[in-house]
Symmetry: C2
Subunit: 283 residues, 2 copies
């Protein structure tokens, strides 16, 4: 690639490009994002580029996955900065539809997930995975990639997208990519930009807390007690509210049977002021 | 074509065939059916064959669009008869997945339509269009056709499918094909097989009633009175229950503004004994 990355804003433009690749027999992958790109997103692009000839990154801050009281309006947006970062990792095109392209007047159909979507995030953000599943289904049918990559940072989202792709027979492969972390363990997230310096220091307790809980689960500790201790550790470190810190089956995201110590995942969501952080690790 | 029509029952088989066509640059279309094929279905195949190099007919009696009290178990099934009919109109392959292929254990995602799905059929079969939208989405992603054809006989279903395809950006064109009728006007339907000889004679009142209502609407009659008269005509002719006889906007399926005489459609659903018949015509 030379020159600026093409930014496509209409479906005919997008399909013209992918149609050229398809007719030439060239593979291509998709990295769906809401922009405000960080090193975790760039790793997704690299992982897709290692598997496909071309990579499309979508940038769309999806209103339907935010509740009215959530941070849609203040969610960070920086297209120029995002394009500069994407140029450094070989992104071939950016798919950035306007809201009216994604949800034109009269739009009415919803993709409603279940299974992996039940519990955890859904207990606190009941609208969330419906918005995610619908927009991801549309991104996949708009772009038509061979592979789409998602970070494990949003572990339940990854499970929901996998389930939707399987259930709806969408002809692509979903690639989960391990979370990229700061040097002190904090998972990279666009929402980290909301943190004050003091909150940024407190935020490191999230990774410490789930690491300790994973060790306890591996050792066969009583899960309810260990989860309670992990939640207390977060509050003691300055988190204002803990939505959940839980050990779950890594595939179904259901609570594991008593005595299970393998195939588990620790997941957490908690608040520092107005900022909600999530993280997870394997047991 | 020579030899019997291939009947494919697994997704890898289906995608192997369509992948060959796609790589060769050959177009193909899909006619989704529940089997028990009649002249209306064969017309759909002919219309697709006139536009595409190949035609796939799917045969799947979709359990999720029947309520527990409806006729899923007694719905007519005749694969051998269907294949013989399809051979006569140039069908290239039949996609006939088992229930476990369509809905494997753990299946959980639903496609939920709105807009055109509201009212009419939904008032009487609230489960129906959710089942139709989900299975049609899956058939489209399984087969990946350029065109899919549906009869206007199920006019609201056609509108729901069009809306879903538009909303989810599914990369295919939906072709609506005018209803094929018996000599006396009765719309062809697999469910006509349920009718006794006496009911079959009474059934012709459906077409007469909606034709009269369309003429009244065209003439600017008061719609509420004309609809009531059409319903009375059905009951007088022996129909046991009238779900609806209504004049609607042909695109949105909403009740038209007073005084509208163009862009309308007459739709009806009514019962002869245990058999529910539907029909519709343009105004």
């Amino acid at each position: 690639m030379s020159g600026p990355i093409p930014v496509l804003r209409t479906l005919p433009q997008m399909r013209e490009l992918t149609g050229q690749w398809r007719r030439a027999g060239e593979s291509f992958g998709l990295v769906p994002t809401m922009g405000a790109l960080h090193a975790g997103h760039l790793e997704l692009v690299r992982q897709v580029k290692a598997r496909c000839r071309h990579v499309v990154v979508s940038i769309f801050v999806n209103p339907t996955q935010f509740a009215p009281h959530e941070d849609f309006d203040r969610y960070p947006r920086d297209e120029a900065g995002d394009l500069a970062k994407l140029a450094s990792v070989g992104c071939d095109a950016v798919w950035s539809p306007d809201r009216e392209v994604m949800y034109p007047a009269g739009f009415a159909t919803r993709v409603v997930p279940a299974g992996a979507a039940e519990g955890l995030e859904t207990d606190f953000r009941p609208h969330f995975f419906g918005g995610v599943a619908t927009v991801c289904c549309k991104l996949f049918t708009q772009v038509g990639p061979d592979i789409a990559a998602f970070g494990e940072k949003d572990f339940q989202q990854l499970a929901v997208v996998r389930q939707m792709v399987r259930d709806l027979d969408l002809p692509l492969q979903i690639l989960g990519v391990p979370t990229v972390r700061e040097a002190d363990g904090l998972a990279m997230s666009s929402r980290n930009a909301y943190l004050s310096a003091a909150q940024r220091a407190q935020a490191t307790a999230m990774y410490r807390s789930i690491t300790a809980l994973a060790a306890a689960a591996r050792a066969g500790a009583d899960l309810a007690s260990a989860e309670a201790a992990a939640g207390k550790a977060l509050r003691d470190a300055g988190f204002d509210k803990v939505d959940y810190v839980a050990v779950r089956d890594a595939t179904t995201l259901k609570p594991p049977a008593a005595g299970t110590t393998e195939g588990l995942r620790v997941l957490a969501a908690a608040w520092l002021g107005k900022t909600r952080l999530i993280d997870n690790i394997p047991v």
